[in-house]
């Protein structure tokens, strides 16, 4: 018998169409003979392909089709794009039912220590969207974290020259909290995001 890890791989390969136990065994042993990077590349390709078919081609939202229901909805305002880090953030924003524009999912935030720079995010796709369509405003709704702020600042710097209005989701004081308990970072951001009344 094979060690457990190999047995598990053989079992997984048998799920492929037209692959019986013998072929699965042969494929498994072939995979084991490859250099580690090759195997990682292969495994990653499978996972990535799987992941990507589940996201909207335009905005990166969860979608079972090529385009998600929000991108397909003609009643939504195509002149406004709200940029978020994660597709899950769209679900949170949609819950309030007040936003009528479109979205763009970055797939993360700039984080040097995690090796995530502009090239690892869907920033090129965003710029292409801005060049192709008549977007008037981009709302940056990345998280109020160090990484989210850095991403927002970077995006503002590259989007503004395109003549598109760039706004940042206001954040600061949590609803229902006392001012005196707020920390200085929260207060600083709340002050920066103040508005005319």
């Amino acid at each position: 018998m094979y060690p457990e890890a190999i047995a598990r791989l053989i079992e997984a390969l048998q799920k492929l169409p037209g692959v019986g136990p013998k072929t699965a065994q042969r494929l498994a042993l072939f995979i084991l003979s490859l250099p580690r990077e090759e195997v990682v590349k292969m495994a990653r390709a499978i996972v990535e392909a799987k992941d990507k078919t589940h996201y909207c081609r335009v905005c990166g939202n969860f979608s079972e089709k090529d385009l998600c229901s929000i991108c397909l909805d003609k009643r939504r305002d195509a002149a406004v794009i709200c940029v978020v880090q994660d597709a899950r953030d769209i679900i949170a924003l949609e819950r309030m039912r007040d936003y009528r524009g479109l979205y763009h999912v970055l797939g993360g935030a700039i984080s040097p220590i995690d090796g995530i720079g502009p090239d690892q995010l869907r920033i090129r796709e965003l710029l292409e969207r801005l060049q192709k369509s008549k977007v008037k405003e981009v709302i940056l709704a990345t998280n109020p974290t160090v990484e989210g702020e850095a991403t927002a600042l970077y995006l503002a710097k590259i989007i503004k020259p395109l003549g598109v209005r760039v706004t940042r989701l206001a954040h600061g004081l949590p609803v229902g909290a006392d001012l005196e308990y707020a920390d200085e970072v929260t207060l600083l951001r709340a002050l920066e995001g103040r508005r005319e009344l």
Partner: protein, 246 residues
């Protein structure tokens, strides 16, 4: 279970589970440790600003069997100036990554803590972030016991250049002595600046002129020494800095 109170700097924050954070800290008392902060990703968490990358704070932690648990803390300094500029952010996290990758878990590292805090202060003020980074690298190598030997050729003692740096022996070799393949040239100006950084640290850093060539060579000395002595390779923040062209 034992409670510890310590000053610490947040090196790295990772999402953990539903709403928790896994926070790597460089503490003044117990060196590098990892703590789980329960519920800290929720918008109502009182400590979300404290548990952010590049934040100096006072922490109360509970020591468990395998990990620490964050109980509460106080924000001392958030280094906000470093958030607003990708180059400075990249360098600051480079310092953090070096500490995270090179220091052992749970061993006192008070001098590393001071070095890191001093470097972040300098990075906020200095007009040349690369200069701060190179100075940090020298100080960091020195504390690790990897201070490069820069007084003449390691083999024959010659004081005459051109010199090459040999990371496997941690010092200079002259042009007349046999050199291993991994050695690389370092200019006289580069050697002089490294000596200055090792002698003076961050004092009067602003008057020190660092050419792009010297900066690159010093970074190579540091990267190669860490690779040969500790097996530390592929620093992600360094790749980031290259990607964004700093």
């Amino acid at each position: 279970m034992k409670e510890i109170r310590t000053y610490g700097l947040v090196l790295h924050v990772r999402s953990f589970g539903e709403a928790d954070k896994l926070v790597t800290l460089l503490t003044q008392e117990t060196g590098k440790i990892t703590a789980v902060a329960k519920g800290s990703r929720k918008t109502k968490s009182k400590f979300s600003a404290l548990l952010e990358s590049l934040t100096l704070g006072k922490f109360l932690l509970l020591r468990g069997k395998t990990m620490y648990t964050f109980i509460q803390g106080e924000l001392i300094k958030p280094y906000t100036k470093l958030h607003f500029d990708l180059e400075r952010l990249g360098y600051a996290q480079y310092f953090c990554e070096l500490c995270e990758r090179c220091l052992p878990e749970g061993e006192p590292a008070e001098q590393f803590f001071s070095l890191l805090v001093t470097a972040l202060e300098a990075l906020e003020q200095d007009s040349c972030p690369a200069r701060v980074a190179r100075c940090f690298e020298m100080g960091f190598l020195d504390l690790l016991g990897l201070r490069p030997a820069l007084d003449g050729c390691l083999l024959c003692g010659s004081q005459a250049g051109p010199f090459y740096f040999d990371p496997s022996q941690g010092g200079l070799l002259c042009a007349n002595c046999p050199r291993p393949a991994e050695s690389f040239p370092v200019g006289a100006a580069t050697i002089a600046i490294m000596k200055r950084f090792l002698a003076l640290g961050f004092t009067k850093l602003s008057v020190c002129h660092l050419s792009p060539e010297a900066s690159e060579q010093i970074q190579q000395v540091s990267t190669k020494l860490l690779e040969y002595a500790l097996g530390v390779v592929n620093l992600k923040s360094l790749r980031f800095l290259q990607q964004v062209n700093f």
